[in-house]
Amino acid sequence: MNPVLAVEPTLATTLEENLDKTVELGLFHWHGLPTLVITLVWVALPFFVGFSIYLLPRFDRILALTVTLCSLAYGLALSVSDQSQVLHLVDRFGVTLELDSLSGYFIVTNALVTLGVLLYCWHQPKKAFFYTQVIILQGSVNAAFICADFMSLYVALEVISIAAFLLIAYPRSDRSIWVGLRYLFVSNTAMLFYLLGAVLVYQANNSFAFTGLAQAPKEAIALIFLGLLSKGGVFVSGLWLPLTHGESETPVSALLSGSVVKTGIYPLLRLTLLQPDLDPIVRLFGVATALMGVTYAILAKNTKRMLAFHTISQLGFVLAAPLVGGFYALTHGLVKASLFLTAGNLPSRSFKELKKTTLPPFLWIALVLASFSIAGLPLFAGFGAKALTVKYLLPWQELAMNIAAVGTAISFAKFIFLPVQFPWQIQENGTAIVVSESISRNLKPALFVLIGGLLLGNAIYLEAYSTAKVLKAVVTLGIGWTLYHTLIPRITFKPSHAPEQFDHLIGVMSLMLTLIFWMVVA
């Protein structure tokens, strides 16, 4: 049920046609193999290996790790290339793939987040089924990040839904089954609207390629956008996300928030770059999402719910400047995966309870490093990503996005100002608070990869380091922390859970459809 299966019978004929082209464009000259072959092997590999893991349960972790490292290498090679390449399999109505640095960033994000999660689960008693699903999920997310036609995207997104459902329901508790069921139901309903839009695009062009959206009727744009916005957790269509990401198991939350939710965002960026008149709509949704998410995040009382709402707001940042969204998505994926993994090991999930306990330094430092990156402080890639996004913002967006940045600083002050005990603060007869052996064994390698990635990511946009920008980041953080200590404790408002009820999640789709339609027509 993946796009690869549909392609393979015709592989032989297409290879011949594409061989000359690819050698001459030569994205991977150092391999000496044409791009098409490498790409197809890379797309197919996770699916073959994923099912093999189930047959060879003894090698589950090794196989999963190998596939992830291959994917990382492929993504890195793609993200440094400066050309874009379109591959047509079969014909104009067949599968279209587009490879450029934007997809490269998303693929690297996916690979690093999966790598972090695999290292985190390395010593845990997870069954081969878990690794099978992680690898199939990784493969389908990768497929979504390179396809450039609506049908392959549909197939990739639906495979993602199924694999994500199985991962969410992995503990087999009734609660996890309900959380997964709700996710599957909402995303499948959204995808039905998307399918309607896709056939309208086909009718206008005799092709499902993304490029055909310009000639398609307006309602096609509205239907497709509704599907992608719901899947990507944008604005009010994204309110399914806090429960799903907040209530899943720790490694699954990290996967969902770090990479899976971006499969709805990537096609939106791609469509916007293809069709400039959609640009204002996507930017507006970006701003609205950033503000809505951050408001909820400030008011959240639960660590994982706060992180989930914050994911919504960060997706807004990715959409606000479509051209450079890839880099922002990369830094957000790394930060959010490390935060979810760390928050899952805190003694409690309620901030109120956590304030009464004392954290061991290891967990606190992990939280602070990731929080600093997401708040856009220098030394971390988050700083460069934020600077790059701000550079490409339009004037009307800047104020709103600065407010959202202050909101981010406020919401992460909740982590930074948790009580912590350093070794030198221990009283004479007191005992040091340390993390248990198992937590540090699970967490250390994962955080090493994720936070290491954040430090290395600085290299992508070194021009960000100017005095004015550093000053701005520090001032934003200062304002955020001041507000956290002065204004925020006085807010007792507790947002209602009603908008997150199942019926409202489905009902809001009809409202969003109308809204997007009139935005497109206007």
Partner: protein
């Protein structure tokens, strides 16, 4: 005659879109989780029918390649380009070929969507089966109340 055909096609399209909408409202208005899933199936039936309708815009005959049909423009190019030729065939049929073939692409594509839709539905029904042990009424409000964060 053309007018009648067009109005028939329009009413067919209206019925299909009405099915989709009815399914959608069923998802919202039905309280039982099982009924919600069935409503989603109704909605997906509507979507599938829409694909079939759009495929039938160019003709109603099944687009099956027939070697005896050598006079048709697509068939001459042989089986090597398989799917490509039959599509050209279907598109070109209105002018040169008396046989009006249906467009094979939406039909092929919706077959994938049907399979995906039905596997998702099977998965959801298994989930509901599990849930029904603790929530025999499967009422959405009870379930949401019980698993509230």
């Amino acid at each position: 005659m053309l007018g009648l055909e067009h109005s028939l096609e329009f009413s067919l399209e209206a019925c299909i879109l009405a099915t989709t909408l009815l399914g959608f409202f069923g998802i919202i208005l039905k309280r039982n989780l099982m009924m919600k899933i069935i409503a989603m199936d109704v909605m997906s039936t509507g979507v599938i029918a829409y694909y079939v309708l759009i495929a039938a815009r160019s003709g109603l005959f099944s687009p099956i390649f027939n070697p005896n049909d050598a006079h048709s423009p697509g068939a001459a190019s042989g089986a090597a380009s398989g799917a490509a030729s039959s599509a050209t065939n279907a598109l070109g049929s209105a002018t040169t070929n008396p046989i009006a073939y249906a467009d094979p692409v939406p039909q092929a594509v919706i077959l994938t969507a049907i399979v995906i839709g039905f596997s998702i539905q099977a998965l959801m029904l298994v989930g509901v089966m599990k849930l029904s042990r603790d929530n025999p009424t499967l009422d959405i409000e009870d379930i949401e109340q019980q698993y509230k964060p």
